[in-house]
Amino acid sequence: MTVVKRVAEAVRVQDLTRTFGDFTAVDRVSFTVATGEIFGFLGPNGAGKTTTIKMLNGLLRPTAGDASVAGFDVSRQAAEVKRRIGYMSQLFSLYGDLSVEENIQLFGGLYGVAGTRLAERQEWVLRMAGLADARKRPTAELALGWKQRLALGCAVLHEPPILFLDEPTSGVDPVSRRSFWDLIYELAEGGTTVFVTTHYMEEAEYCNRLALMNRGRLIALGRPSELREELHQPLLELRTDDPARAVEALTGVPGVVTAAMFGRLVHVMVEDAERASEQLPRALAAAGRSCESLTVVEPSLEDVFVALVLREGGAVEG
């Protein structure tokens, strides 16, 4: 067992920056993650989430700024950092041609877990991932949900104090996603700090604290409830015949802050709810769209993020 340096902050990031040529992927980002937290890292594709996580894992060198993980500097003490973290990358990156057991043994060896402890941990992973009956099967043959759980198991074989998960549930069906989050909770209850990126909003609700990134910059940071309160302006939910055209029609109308699709509905953030409930039906009628219902609703996290991203100039294309 590696000696865990007791630090209140599992992750501390100060003005962290990474450029690729002219492109600034991460732009002076600062935040801290407390020990034992489930910290959600959100943002549209290309926002810089993965680049940040790779810098924190010692896979990429920061261009500027400082970052420490478990009390160790990520650029100068990368080896110390790597000993104390578990990492699960966005794409499945275990060895498909090795069996479930062989993958566990490989990562056990790489993390210095050996002997009876490895045997114990292996059984724990197999049980946790529900792969006890598939231990001899080539990993490539497993369904994605199983692969993800095995990858999680390999990442926590050495019982790291901090776990980094980069979109661990992308492409996984909702049921598997739910059971994956049960595992994350289990680990967090055991005291593991979990740093997780996602673009599923319902997953964001599971986190203790959230950071929202857009275009390489951190645009919001706080508990889910705090972030909801950041949205001071009222939100109207509109039921209409053609949500996409309705969004077009409402964008730019005086008094409308943002208009965005929300499933088959449209969520419209306005400056004043009373005035908008008169104005909006008129604007819709002028554009030939129906207005079946228009009600004030509580903003969800998704509304918050859409509003914040739009306020910060929108997501990058592609």
């Binding site: 690729f20 790779k54 894992n57 010692g58 896979l59 990429l60 060198r61 080896a79 790597k82 000993r83 973290i85 990492y87 990358s89 794409l91 499945f92 990156s93 275990l94 060895y95 498909g96 041609d97 090795l98 062989e102 043994q105 490989l106 990562f107 056990g108 060896g109 790489l110 993390y111 210095g112 050996a114 990858a151 390999c154």
Partner: protein, 371 residues
């Protein structure tokens, strides 16, 4: 450096090789195929040259000359021609590589003491064979002339050449080819084998997971080397055994010395493969570059077939940086001459340098930054 981590990588690599048909083919099938192919196909020994005879003299004397050709062991008479018109036909169709024409006046000229001229027409499209055949024919006619003049009497010539061939007493070209072949085959196989190994990790995304663990690049490179070094040594052992058993090549020197040199060479060549693989990060590209970087130099500039001493200065200079050159001289030296370190030490030094350079390149090129 951690033994646990190094062993974890080595074990993983071994499991992957065992399950990858391409690696298995490269490791165990290709060396044998190359050895047999080259071993049987390349031969500079010229025997049974196809000869057509146009005997216009048709006398006992002319038949004696033809018998002298047949009795030499170098020529086989494949056709007796009836007229000059047939000469071009047999040569152009390749039925014979040369035609011996004995004129009608042959026996008369011999009897009268005039120089009797016979004509030899050669197919020069294979210049190498034609030159050798001409030399053989010259010698046969010369000896036959002497026999005719002396009519069986013995004379003492004032000077005579007693030639003895050392190391390859029977001048079998196979004896020269097989030891060199071991070296050439190994330089190709070694680089090709490891050319796949790092690029595969990049292509499959496993490098990212590997890089996030505390494993050091030295451990990755050495861990990957372990199984391939074992394969390399095994291949050389098989190739040497085949050389001795199938091609009857003498193995006169120390096996231990050969093993040590082989180890050095294999480490260098495998390191080169890892370097190429890590630098290019594509299995396809790395395989092609590894092939180009090893095959042609090993074939042409190693002294395997073409003697380095007779090459133009520029090529001779380049040959000094072709590692196969040193390994070829080692295998030939140990197989045929039975020499030891007292002769081979310069090659030994060169191969230590090669091993160190190969490994350093591999470790330097292996950067773990994952963009």
């Amino acid at each position: 450096m951690s033994g646990t981590r190094l062993w974890a990588i080595a074990r993983k690599e071994l499991l992957q090789i065992r399950r990858d048909p391409r690696s298995l083919y490269l490791a165990f099938i290709l060396p044998v195929v190359l050895l047999l192919l080259f071993g049987y196909a390349i031969s500079f020994d010229i025997r049974n040259i196809e000869l057509a005879v146009l005997d216009q003299s048709r006398t006992q004397q002319s038949r004696q000359l033809v018998e002298a050709f047949e009795g030499s062991g170098y020529f086989t008479v494949v056709a007796h021609l009836d007229g000059a018109a047939e000469v071009e036909r047999v040569l152009s169709r390749g039925r014979a590589q040369l035609v011996l024409t004995i004129p009608p006046s042959y026996a008369r000229d011999l009897a009268s003491g005039r120089p009797a001229e016979v004509q030899l027409l050669l197919d020069g499209s294979d210049a190498n064979t034609a030159t050798i055949a001409q030399n053989y024919a010259d010698a046969i006619v010369m000896r036959h002339s002497a026999d005719v003049v002396l009519e069986g009497r013995r004379v003492q010539l004032p000077a005579s050449l007693e030639a003895r061939v050392w190391y390859n007493e029977t001048l079998e070209s196979r004896n020269m080819i097989v030891p060199g072949l071991v070296a050439v085959v190994m330089s190709i196989i070694a680089a090709m084998l490891t050319a796949l190994t790092i690029a595969r990790e990049w292509e499959r995304g496993t490098m990212e997971q590997l890089a996030a663990t505390p494993v050091h690049r030295l451990e990755v490179v050495l861990g990957k080397l372990v199984p391939y070094v074992a394969i390399g040594l095994f291949d050389v052992a098989v190739a040497c055994a085949a050389g001795v058993a199938i091609f009857s090549v003498p193995l006169r020197g120390s096996l231990l010395l050969l093993a040590v040199f082989t180890l050095l060479f294999v480490i260098g060549a495998l390191g080169l493969g890892i370097f190429i693989s890590a630098a290019l990060r594509s299995q396809m590209l790395a395989t092609q570059v590894a092939m180009m970087a090893t095959f042609l130099p090993a074939l042409l500039l190693s002294g395997f077939i073409f003697p380095i001493a007779t090459m133009p200065l520029v090529l001779r200079a380049i040959s000094y940086v072709v590692p196969a050159r040193y390994y070829v001289s080692v295998t030939k030296g140990i197989f045929l001459k039975g020499v030891g370190l007292e002769v081979l030490w310069p090659s030994g030094v060169a191969m230590i340098v090669f091993a160190v350079v190969g490994l350093s390149l591999a470790i330097t090129a292996f950067r773990k930054e994952i963009a």
